[in-house]
Symmetry: C2
Subunit: 259 residues, 2 copies
């Protein structure tokens, strides 16, 4: 524990991570990476020495709505230039076992990145060229390796997919979206009183219909049905529908309808 | 709390989730979805009423190493047939606000799916056709909606990307990979004794070189340097390299080398 409080930079002054594509080969993949970033609200893209030159018409075409990310992406002549302003750099690679370095999951890496960014640091993620991936000469510039935990028997992930997963992990940890939210279509949960009254209505009609027997099992049967109504999480409109169904059936069968 | 313990099915008897592609349009996307599933160790794919018929040569070509997933994918004539054996069904859609239903993040959905699967239940995830997504007629069959928390200003995610993210989330929660692992290239962390001796060596040479002044600051300087050695997490080979560098510099400068 430190005596000084941890520096926390206000959210609107925090600098989101920069994603650096190192020697990307196909313009389509650069454009796909830009789209994948913007899907998760990331906009800081940098490109190092793209094989087919820059600007890349194929990247622009593929990026479509995310084209503005390409306009500020460089290109940069080498990795050092592209990550020069970063305080902490991750390198995404499935290999990276030839250098002494921590290897992290996307989850752990983004947790660290978020912590650093909250403390005012600038964080970069490097992504390698499509075929070969990052070279050891690139990896030495990174503080840590990020490896997506793919199926070892089938580890195919392309450049844009890797960017997509890291972008997802960034946004997932933002926790801006409630894990579960009940959506109502012009209704709301029924109140407990409404649920009780529905239970009463069913019990009354079922009693009249001779549903509850044998006598020794009736208390348990009633309890089970009451429990079901409570558990179901019915809406007001569904409760109304059940009342209506029950009344109509009773009417149709000619019984006395007092519901 | 229940009196009975929660049923937990042994891991090797648990049935992983089935991913159901509903009326997919392009074979390439079916193949891409199969690859994305296998990337994260999921193999149970089902296809409902694919637009361009079945088997799909384009799906097979795109699936490449994941082709065996297509062989057991159906096709199924309708959604009900494809999810008929499932105990709990999620529908992935960005919309789904027209029906009263819980809307969950992939994280929350996979947590629920894992819990159900551990209890011996069968779980399905439905994915809609490329352009229109799932219809309300499909969504009514689902217990809950899953929505990927994309940037609302740029929510473009294709079918295979959506499958990829759900597959990633499934595997992430398996927790089979250590969040962070230190990888060593033919070395190991230096022991604390080795780090202490390196600190001694530096202090000795720096003292001989007249580095430590003014006197009142010396204790603080020494403390800072000791702290640095401890914090760096040096390996045995790095410690040896530092000793060697220091000896060579001392030798080159003509000083007495006792290291």
């Amino acid at each position: 524990m430190s005596d000084a409080p941890m520096t926390t930079v206000p959210v609107d002054e925090q600098v989101p991570p920069v994603f650096v594509l190192v020697r990307p080969q196909m313009g389509e993949n650069i454009g796909g990476a830009a789209r994948a970033m913007l899907n998760f609200g990331l906009e800081r893209l940098r490109v190092v020495d793209p094989r087919d030159g820059w600007p890349s018409p194929k990247a622009v075409a593929m990026a479509s709505g995310a084209g503005r990310l390409l306009e500020t992406a460089g290109p940069y002549g080498d990795v050092q230039a592209a990550i020069g302003d970063c305080d902490y750099v991750f390198a995404t690679t499935a290999r990276g076992r030839e250098l002494t370095k921590p290897v992290m999951t996307p989850e752990a890496a983004m947790a660290r990145a978020r912590g650093m960014i909250a403390a005012g640091k600038k964080v970069g993620f490097m992504f390698g060229p499509e075929r070969a991936g990052l070279e050891n000469e690139d990896l030495v510039h990174a503080n840590a390796i990020v490896t997506v935990p793919v199926n070892p028997d089938f580890p195919s992930l392309n450049l844009a997919q890797c960017v997509l997963l890291l972008g997802y992990e960034w946004r997932r940890q933002a926790g801006e979206v409630a894990p579960e939210e009940m959506v109502f279509n012009r209704t709301d949960f029924a109140s407990r009183v409404e649920v009780e009254k529905l239970g009463d209505h069913f019990e009354e009609k079922l009693t009249a219909a001779g549903f509850f027997h044998p006598a020794e099992k009736v208390p348990g049967m009633k309890l089970s049905i009451r429990n079901m109504w409570a558990r179901l999480g019915l809406t007001k409109s569904e409760v109304a529908t059940f009342h209506g169904m029950l009344r109509q059936i009773a009417r149709h069968l000619g019984g006395p309808d007092r519901g």
